[in-house]
């Protein structure tokens, strides 16, 4: 498949009076057309900032793209003017943000808000736009769409507002849809409906999706490829089954192991990753996870590991690690039998 998006050496920092935050450090990956990429990471991992900086949605200053290229259909997004980005966002790249209440304008009807990109980007007339708005609301499963279109955001529940956000995100049939913690604030039952809807939309209009979340469960169910980020770097990426069933980064392994799963009768403690998230104002040196990694070698603290193919795994499975996790786990296993 041909790549829709190629991110090369993207490095982003934020300069404040007292410190420089190294938010994204040398991130490179490609995304094929029609692929769903799940990006997991914690706050400060760079997962959101890297996506926002690709399309000029971070405030500059204090933000600054230090280096890198982001090729979208062959065009370098980082070289585009604000005007060009303005035309691109919402049309070719759609967004869904976390908080539907603050992302919607409370004094405009839902129809106005969905129609705006339709009229601006696609040049639809008022009546064409109105028709399309109703179609979109039906597409995202809002009952009684004709009447609901004329209502204001406060008349919608949280789940319904998030559906509206998705309708706006996909309104111009974008080639790429970026969702940033789009279901995090929702109840699980509503989240289940929204995820179903996204799977449905992918089938119907074949959208390429970047789904940013901290929820490993959501990624397991939605993504083709998963990318694990920590300290502004990609620690591991690959086909979702490979990464979940055979993780090669100690961070991925620790995250999966620390989650409660099913019935654990008699288990009193969860596996816990020691320590705290990294201080992003420090000049990045070495593997960012090294201070919390029980398997870290001396080299991990000195030298940054490159993202390379994971040995004996499927194609596309890559890991950035100086240690060999499989070996370390085998040692651990042997020690537990002694």
């Amino acid at each position: 498949m041909k790549p829709l998006l190629e991110v090369r050496n993207l490095t982003v920092e934020f300069n404040t009076a007292s410190a420089t935050v190294h938010a994204v450090n040398d991130v490179s990956y490609t995304l094929a057309e029609g692929e769903t990429l799940g990006i997991v990471g914690e706050s400060g991992s760079g997962k959101s900032v890297h996506a926002l900086s690709m399309v000029g949605l971070i405030a500059m200053p204090p933000g600054r793209v230090v280096r890198g290229e982001v090729l979208f259909n062959g065009r370098n997004l980082l070289a585009l003017s604000q005007r060009e980005l303005f035309d691109l966002r919402g049309k070719e790249i759609g967004f869904i943000f976390q908080d539907p209440m603050t992302s919607l304008n409370p004094v405009l009807t839902i129809e106005r808000q969905i129609a705006e990109p339709l009229r601006r980007h696609l040049g639809l007339s008022a009546s064409q736009a109105r028709k399309r708005v109703v179609e979109l609301l039906e597409l995202v499963g809002i009952p009684d769409a004709e009447r609901r279109a004329g209502q204001y955001p406060h008349e919608f529940s949280g789940g319904m507002r998030q559906r509206v956000m998705i309708a706006i995100g996909v309104s111009c049939n974008p080639k790429l849809l970026i969702a940033d913690e789009a279901t995090t604030a929702l109840d699980v039952t509503v989240q289940a409906q929204i995820l179903e809807l996204v799977r449905d939309l992918k089938k119907k209009i074949g959208t390429t999706v970047i789904w940013i979340t901290h929820d490993m469960g959501v990624v397991a169910g939605l993504a083709d490829t998963v990318q694990v980020m920590y300290g502004g770097r990609i620690m591991e990426r690959g086909p979702v089954r490979a990464v979940f069933n055979d993780p090669r980064s100690a961070y991925t392994w620790g995250l999966l192991k620390s989650l409660p799963h099913g019935s654990q009768r008699g288990v009193k403690r969860l596996y816990q990753i020691p320590g705290n998230p990294p201080d992003m104002t420090r000049e990045p040196v070495g593997d960012p996870f090294a201070p919390r990694n029980r398997f870290a070698t001396e080299r991990c603290f000195r030298e940054t590991p490159p993202l390379v193919d994971a040995a004996d795994s499927v194609s596309g499975h890559k890991v950035a690690a100086w240690y060999d996790l499989r070996q370390e786990l085998a040692k651990l296993e042997a020690a537990s039998h002694d």
């Binding site: 699980v188 901290h214 979940f244 069933n245 989650l259 799963h261 099913g262 990753i273």
Partner: protein
């Protein structure tokens, strides 16, 4: 009904709520129009045993947080009773409630918002000791706070620092240190790990477990993360629009859910395993079409397991 829910073997419940209701709105304005009434907590009864963790789950607006707040009398109930170690503490004056306050604490979701940004975390943790006149001696108090810091896994050298110098997980540890400062018997933990990073959640959950083992604490653990609830709780109550629709031992709820809403809720949890996840089929549940009638009652379906029917 209360008898049924609390009819567990032996020890007396630590905390009991009986037919608790909390209604908002309904008052008449000057022009005589009544504001719409919202029954945030509707005829809720349950008990928490000493050393037990009762999980309270439900979606936003189900009344789970309000239940916790009313139970601690941070808000007055509209009706119903709250009993602590058998004595009715509903509607007691501030003064009379004070001895009970020591025994019942709360931990909130946002570990930063609940700290005072202008107070060192050491002072923050020692504040309840001063308010309740425990350890009037300053140096004894310092020692006590240092011990609390160690107990929650913080270096006592951090006592002089301010909240902004800490990560989310460390801040939640500070909140926990303050909550246990007066040796409470009962803690309401309202979504205490929701705002934390995934790699930190396990640390805090383990801390809750350790403190329970060590201090015999009982928790009302309010959360929407059902997999964490399953791990942590002895019993679980499921709330829907202000009512408990199902309550029972944790494994009974997860292995053998009886109420349609509980089933829908459980089926909606994403599983961090791509193979299992591809086989999962969420069950739909239309809340508005399935609101339990006011006359519905909790009926026993198993040992300590009750479901709302009517």
């Amino acid at each position: 009904m209360t008898e049924m829910v609390t009819a567990q073997e032996s020890p007396a419940p630590l905390v009991q709520v009986e037919r608790l209701c909390k209604t908002y709105g309904g008052e008449r304005s000057l022009l005589g129009a009544a504001k719409p009434q919202l029954r945030a907590v509707n005829d809720v009864s349950f008990a928490v045993m000493p050393g037990e963790t009762l999980g309270l789950v439900g979606e936003s607006g189900s009344g789970k947080s309000t239940t916790g707040r009313v139970l601690l009398q941070l808000e007055a109930p509209t009706s119903g009773d709250i009993l602590f170690k058998g004595s009715n503490i509903t509607g007691l004056s501030k003064h009379l409630l004070r001895p009970y306050r020591r025994d019942m604490q709360i931990i909130f979701q946002d570990p930063y918002a609940s700290l005072n940004p202008r107070m060192t975390v050491g002072d923050f943790v020692s504040e309840p000791l001063i308010v309740h006149g425990v350890c009037p001696n300053r140096s004894e108090r310092q020692d006590k706070v240092a011990a609390l810091f160690r107990k929650v896994g913080l270096d006592p050298a951090f006592m002089k620092r301010y909240p902004h110098e800490f990560s989310g997980g460390q801040r939640q540890r500070v909140n926990i240190a303050r909550a246990i400062a007066l040796n409470p018997a009962f803690i309401v933990a309202d979504e205490p790990i929701t705002a934390l990073d995934v790699s930190i959640q396990a640390q805090i959950v383990n801390l809750f477990q350790d403190l329970q083992d060590e201090l015999g604490l009982a928790y009302l653990f309010i959360a929407h993360d059902l997999s964490m609830i399953r791990f942590l709780c002895h019993r679980v109550a499921v709330m829907l629009r202000g009512r408990i629709v199902e309550i029972g031992p944790c494994e009974a709820i997860f292995e053998n859910p009886q109420h349609a809403y509980t089933r829908a809720l459980l089926s909606a949890i994403p599983i961090p395993d791509p193979d299992l996840e591809s086989k999962r089929h969420p069950i739909a549940f239309d809340v508005n079409a399935n609101l339990p009638p006011q006359s519905a009652v909790l009926e026993p379906v198993g040992d300590g397991h009750f479901v709302l029917r009517g």
